[in-house]
């Protein structure tokens, strides 16, 4: 393992340095370099099929980059040993696109399981924590329901409660508003911002829902579908109003584009 610079609070929390992602010979995105500041809401943007979710998969440790470095507080994630990597991954809370709730458990058991497996708290304390996490997302009434009994929006919120189970300081959201109506989606955005402030967490969000991106994200990266590489950096609002690249501006302004 290479000698790393000591972590300091001014350094970015997460840093991707020339990362190339590929499934076998098929390159998804190449040469991604980006910094995620502590406490920011960072958006990974781009059209359908550009590899947004793949970038997220690599950041939560499910896909090893074909090239480049991924650093968490200066520590190279993929150069670290397994124990170190597990400790780093415990700082991540992930809301998957399809919520990925464990279907044979109730919502309460879904939230309890990470705590049962990763802490030594007793059953009453875990129950109290489960109630807190479900209360935060407004799902307390569904604690004894099974995922199959929930609507799409409720599943998202239950998945969010599970993502919060271990008090993570880095939250990943994969298309949080996909399949939700605009009002539910706006409520979820508000909830995400409140949780960011309340938990002091850093949020990385993968989405192409422009209204919600403009509301919540303060930094971001735009991945291009054709050249398979990032072509713009900045907050969604900045990209919409000031980006040099006409294609990015068109995308952010929701205009039809010949390349989109």
């Amino acid at each position: 393992m290479a000698v790393e610079a000591p972590a300091s609070h001014s350094a970015p929390l997460l840093r991707l340095d020339g990362v190339t992602l590929a499934y076998g010979p098929k390159v998804i995105q190449k040469n991604i370099s980006m910094d995620v500041r502590r406490g920011s809401v960072f958006a990974v943007m781009g059209g359908s099929g550009c590899g947004k979710s793949t970038v997220l998969r690599s950041m939560i440790g499910l896909l090893r980059p074909a090239a480049g470095h991924y650093r968490l507080e200066g520590v190279d994630y993929w150069a670290a040993n397994d124990a170190r990597r597990t400790m780093m991954a415990q700082r991540f809370g992930v809301l998957f696109q399809s919520s990925a709730l464990w279907s044979s458990m109730t919502v309460g058991e879904n939230v309890a399981l990470p705590m049962q497996m990763n802490t030594r708290l007793d059953a009453t304390s875990i129950r109290a924590q489960v109630e807190l996490k479900l209360g935060l997302v407004g799902m307390l009434q569904a604690i004894d329901q099974y995922p199959s009994e929930l609507s799409g929006g409720m599943k998202k919120r239950a998945g969010l409660a599970r993502a919060l189970a271990l008090d993570p300081d880095i939250l990943f959201f994969d298309e949080p508003s996909a399949g939700l109506d605009p009002i539910t989606s706006a409520r979820l955005d508000e909830l995400i911002l409140n949780l960011r402030d309340g938990l002091g967490a850093t949020i990385i969000i993968v989405s192409h829902e422009l209204p919600s991106l403009f509301t919540i994200a303060d930094d971001g990266i735009y991945l291009d579908n054709v050249t398979r590489t990032p072509i713009a950096h900045g907050s969604p609002r900045y990209l919409r109003d000031h980006c040099d690249d006409p294609q990015v501006r068109a995308f952010m302004q929701r205009l039809p584009s010949n390349t989109a």
Partner: protein, 378 residues
Amino acid sequence: MDAATEGSPHWQLETAGGQNRLTLSGDWTAQRGSLPRFPADGLRAARPAAPLVFDTAPLGRWNSALVTFLWEVRQAAADAGIAFDGANLPSSANKLLGLLPPARVTQKPRRRGWFNPLAALGSWTLDSLTEVGVLTELTATTTWNGARAVLGRSRMRPVDLLANIRDAGPDSLLIVSIVNFLLGAILAFVGAVQLEKFAAGVYVADLVGIAMVREMAAVMTAIIMAGRTGGAYAARIATMLGNEEIDALTVTGIPVSSYLILPSVLALVITMPLLYLYGCLVSMVGGCVVAVAMLHVTLAGYVTQTLGAVPFSQFIFGFIKAIVFAVFIGLISCRIGLKAGRSAADVGIAATRAVVVGVVGVIAIDSLFAVIANAIGI
């Protein structure tokens, strides 16, 4: 709680000077043992007129454990009619408290009622009757669709049938060969020990031939197929059910019976009789190997003896049994898959149930056949 322990979470309510002051100290980040709870009557000593304020100067690091505690404090304050003044709390903790509903759930976890034998018997009877009805209907529609397929008017896709046949036939040849060969050899061993005593070693061929052709080859092949193919059918259909694929088929106007069940059942009906014949042959080879090696029976002698011992009618009997087993395994495993729940665990339950019901059912049907054969004198 021991205040002397450095760093551990601690709280204290002071009511001196006409105010209610809750002091929070230590690190509220426990990862083991129990988290501090605020008792429901914790504000009994508090002064009702004054608001509840906080002193967080000695508070160290904290996580959601503190928020859980504050939530309980807020409820206790609301119950006691005391105003909750969180101005001194960390602003992020206040933000989280703002998201929380006023009261925690008071509902108890779902509790099961007492076991009632009469109710259990009643629901079991109703379930069984329903199951008989559903299976009959499934059999009828599948047969109807099968007849239409023969007449060339069905919408079953040949590619599905061929894929199912490949899976149920050639792909299971190896395991059918191994089991039947060893079974033939085992029967020959057992028979050899007994028949040697009467110098009737050559009758091992009769023993192996009749036992395998009449009973064992059909039953063993059916058990293998129930475990291998029946389990796979049930798991596949249960997974499709969970993914709403079955719903999509129904809505698109594609009958599940002709798209999924018919090719599955038909594939088994086509392959199992052939596998049965193949199993008979392989088991006789197994018996022959043992007989030639142990009993000094010649190869020609074994073959001649076998040909004389097993009449053609026995093959027809076994053949019919194999077809009945095929229909049973195909229908029952598809039915169990369609009846499964929609969770991941339900897929496993469906696969297990398909294998268990398949194996037990095959043996039960076989005993039924034995009774019938005895009655009509085959």
